[in-house]
């Protein structure tokens, strides 16, 4: 096992890059930092990476906490408001239990350590009014339904979920971070994010995108925006899709 730094000690640390970006450095410190970053490709790349991460946070950060988590099942809205509320966590946990317990009927299920015929699979689970059920293509959903996803992989890979809704708006449902998590081979692996559906009605396509390399979710969204019928995801990415239709209750 060998762990190595990506940057020499003469380079700029993440702490200094963060402080520089937020104006915490003195004038002299900032000047020295800027001069180094301009001349060092490694530090330039890291600075750009941290900047992308800050922008991703600005777009989709968890709601600002108002206090310690309580046991009351209060579900708050917000970009991910309910992802940090105790009630939403309980609901998401219920969905996970459902994922473990329910059998899907429409497609063959892969087992850990085996290659799946037909490639990786995306599954969707819906929570509504205290009940949780598995979804298949053609599923009818309502605004404010909560969606959670699981994936089955036949090869290790980086996973994202992209949505194209009835208005042609492309959204990243998973991950919330700038870089997707890498998952191993296995069936019914629950993804960490949960999504509350908005009021846009009509058909919506959910794409599970499985890549060999950590492709930024924003790049996957861009691919879906360029060609919504069949997105041309980057080489090394495969996808599975589920069609859902959002209707009023």
């Amino acid at each position: 096992m060998k762990i190595a730094r990506a940057r020499a000690e003469t380079c700029i640390s993440d702490l200094r890059l963060d402080r520089w970006a937020l104006g915490e450095l003195s004038v002299d410190e900032a000047r020295v930092t800027e001069e180094h970053v301009e001349s060092c490709p490694v530090c330039q790349a890291r600075h750009a990476e941290l900047d992308r991460d800050r922008r991703a946070f600005a777009e989709s950060a968890p709601a600002f906490p108002s206090g310690p988590k309580t046991s009351a099942p209060a579900v708050r809205r917000g970009p991910w408001g309910w992802a940090s509320a105790a009630g939403a966590v309980a609901l998401a946990a219920a969905i996970i239990l459902c994922i473990q317990g329910l059998a899907t009927e429409s497609r063959p299920r892969p087992t850990a350590g085996t290659r799946t015929k037909g490639g990786p699979k995306l599954e969707v689970y819906v929570a509504r009014g205290g009940e949780v059920f598995a979804g298949t293509s053609g599923l009818l959903v309502h605004p404010r339904d909560a969606l959670r996803f699981s994936v089955s992989l036949d090869e290790p890979g980086y996973v994202a979920v992209i949505s194209v809704d009835g208005a042609g708006v492309v959204s990243i449902y998973h991950p919330r971070s700038a870089v997707p998590d890498r998952l191993g081979v296995g069936a019914d692996q629950a993804l960490s994010t949960a999504t509350e559906l908005d009021d846009t009605l009509g058909a919506e396509t959910l794409y599970g995108v499985f890549c060999d390399e950590p492709v930024a979710p924003t790049a996957l969204r861009a691919a879906a925006q360029r060609s919504r019928e069949t997105p041309a995801f980057p080489p090394g990415c495969r996808f599975d899709r589920i069609l859902i239709t959002k209707v009023l209750p």
């Binding site: 096992m1 000690e9 993440d14 702490l15 915490e24 310690p68 960490s192």
Partner: protein
């Protein structure tokens, strides 16, 4: 006593760094979000924790490191993180997923002082001087701890 900026503003400006580091340390988005939540709830309840001896970002680095390390130590499944991500080749740069997983495994078994040094040196890629400033100790103390760290785990440069 130094006063922090309004916490919601601080969250917007500095929260990304707290979340990012927690994610890198824990390898889990959900746990990282919990660390982010815990750090800022702690500040809501006791803003006087920030004494003004360092920059706000430096202070948040310390808080988030301590919170994440605490979780790593109690995490039962840290070995699971290495499954299917272990790369037996040498010289893998730290910013790769595999090296982060290796570092997480190491951190869970280190005493506090060495774990903090490892985080700041290998994850944050700070200089020894920066680490000394962060921890309020001498550079020689940091160097000795790094030497111990390297002896305790073969292969660390």
């Amino acid at each position: 006593m130094s006063v922090l900026p309004p916490l919601e503003d601080l969250y917007k400006s500095h929260g990304a760094a707290v979340l990012r580091r927690a994610r890198d340390l824990l390898g889990s988005e959900s746990e990282a979000q919990e660390v982010l939540h815990d750090v800022f709830v702690s500040l809501l309840q006791k803003p006087e924790q920030f004494g003004g001896q360092s920059s706000v970002m430096t202070f948040l680095y310390r808080m988030s490191t301590n919170a994440a390390l605490g979780r790593l130590r109690s995490r039962r499944t840290r070995r699971r993180l290495l499954a299917s991500t272990h790369d037996p080749t040498s010289g893998v740069a730290l910013q790769s997923q595999e090296s982060r997983a290796e570092l997480r495994e190491l951190l869970g078994s280190l005493p506090d002082d060495l774990a903090q040094i490892a985080v700041h040196y290998y994850l944050d890629e700070m200089t020894q001087g920066e680490i000394a400033d962060m921890l309020g100790c001498s550079r020689q103390w940091v160097q000795k701890r790094l030497d111990r760290l390297r002896r305790s785990d073969e292969g660390l440069p």
